[in-house]
Symmetry: C2
Subunit: 360 residues, 2 copies
Amino acid sequence: TDVKKIAVIAGDGIGPEVVAEAEKVLKKAEELYGYSFETEHALFGGIAIDEKGTPLPQETLDVCKSADAVLLGAVGGPKWDNNSKELRPETGLLGIRKALGLFSNLRPAVVFDCLKEASTLKPEVLEGTDLMVVRELTGGIYFGEKLRRQGEHGEEAVDTCVYNVTEIERITRQAFEIAQKRRKKLASVDKANVLETSRLWRETVNRIAPDYPDVELEHVLVDNCAMQLLRRPSSFDVIVTENMFGDILSDEAAMLTGSIGMLASASMGDSTDAGSFGLYEPVHGSAPDIAGQGLANPIATILSVALMFRLTFNYAEAADAIEAAVAKVLDEGHRTADIAVDKSQALSTSQMGDLIVAAM
Amino acid sequence: TDVKKIAVIAGDGIGPEVVAEAEKVLKKAEELYGYSFETEHALFGGIAIDEKGTPLPQETLDVCKSADAVLLGAVGGPKWDNNSKELRPETGLLGIRKALGLFSNLRPAVVFDCLKEASTLKPEVLEGTDLMVVRELTGGIYFGEKLRRQGEHGEEAVDTCVYNVTEIERITRQAFEIAQKRRKKLASVDKANVLETSRLWRETVNRIAPDYPDVELEHVLVDNCAMQLLRRPSSFDVIVTENMFGDILSDEAAMLTGSIGMLASASMGDSTDAGSFGLYEPVHGSAPDIAGQGLANPIATILSVALMFRLTFNYAEAADAIEAAVAKVLDEGHRTADIAVDKSQALSTSQMGDLIVAAM
Ligand SMILES: CC(C)[C@H](C(=O)O)[C@@H](O)C(=O)O
Ligand SMILES: CC(C)[C@H](C(=O)O)[C@@H](O)C(=O)O
């Protein structure tokens, strides 16, 4: 049989707990659909700093590289926040993105009907919101040269934001292709009235746009986009933008759905076609405050498995089954503490995982 | 008598219309309080490009420099959007900020009770929201070196983000001082887990924080701040951040109040103490689509005059009177088209201005 190799990186905080539930889902999919997964666990983030002296050990990278896909829980925590740069979990995160060539971060922001009330936005504004932020993930100010120096006015720090046409073209082509498979609307976000990188971004998008005549393109300035996401979230389909803007806007978009504990994300390389390598992880963080208590919501991680099935393995049937199972369990009123109205009735992490597996 | 000189820059789009109403308010304040204003009009932005070949003519800068304060309408429009950089209105805006040393942009985001319904946020979430974004305005990626070059992977563009301790210290001290006069809470926003400039920012804030022991300080990552503004807007008091983050977050904060057509802003230099030079302008833009039709809402510009009275002239009584007049007119149900439920009942720009003047 066709054995799929999955690198499993549990990470820190609630990472191990939510990943454990996602692994139950993998097992159930093997039973139901005759798939075969070979999972290999690897150390990453804070726990790798503690055990191996680096957030991204070479073994971990090797495990990822030999896998078909990576499932990541979450990394980071206060324990490592004051470490020097090389010994911080985030440095591992940036390192793994770069080393695996994951330049495209797909962050769907959808509204779960039963959680609409959890949003701070009015339900009628949220109605129909279903957008996808396509964030460039291996360029820009995240990866440009950084330095400290003595200047005329005391110590100074420098960050450099660099983009070349090749980087811009590959991410925006992916965004156009994704839009073609959705509602055929693309908003390219930049700050072309101020930044040179944004001007190159906009020129490049305009140059390739004729190749996608069926996609309606708009250019939106980043400050305006931060406003329009609040004013008319449902009018967006696909948003493509550079790394730093994507970090901010994708979090804003996720939060406004009210479903942040439920959102999955994918980081992809050269292709988002079925069969492509990808790293899948929940949008939420490592939540150190509730770690180890069985309180975490495993749904975002379980939905990350569905996204992996869809994008990397082309297992659409199983992906549908997982998503349907999640919807069913929620519709039946089952909640973990983060989304429960009555916290005393909340399920534990593993109870929620078991219910979803049973509903598959 | 003590004559106050005000440089008046009407600018483009709806700028001239809204500024005309603000000037009526200045006149009325002279009558009521015995003040004496000398206003001098100057060309700026698109109209200056058309008439003088540059967005920021030297005469305009001279008029501003010899004034005690500047009142600005709005600049920009599609007519100049495809101009080369030197011939764009935004370049004038960046130029005037730098030339006048206006490194501190104060953007209050408050909720007008009668407009609470205009927000896309739930009223109960918005309840009590009254925050001020203090944005660094003359540094960072806006003003760092920019370039285009041929690289290994085709054309590339570079923007440089630079901050020195002096720049960080002066803006964060102002923010602490402003917080001391408000609810004594300061959120410093950065991306210290990725950017070197942010690490210097955070170190500097932490170094000076002990000088303001009565202010409760929190550090918030920019992506998290974009979320928290949506989740708990009323928990923020003063937010201080660098130029690019401030651009995005202040627009998000303004929009969530639902009162964006009503918000004033101040750009200040070395001091925000009474008597300091400042440039005052509405938060909204030049709205070319409705320009010249008498549809624009002049309230944000009129409230910019109130802010000028408070911060530059120390005319607290008149500032209170303007704000009270605006509140009264709104409470009586008068609306311009942008905030009217029944657009057919909407007042024109000058009708709204006249009512506010009459209510003073
Ligand atoms: C932890 C941090 C470096 C990271 C980022 O900014 O990319 C995170 O915010 C994310 O969005 O994945
Ligand atoms: C027009 C533009 C250059 C400007 C900025 O980004 O500063 C505007 O968005 C603002 O916030 O005043």
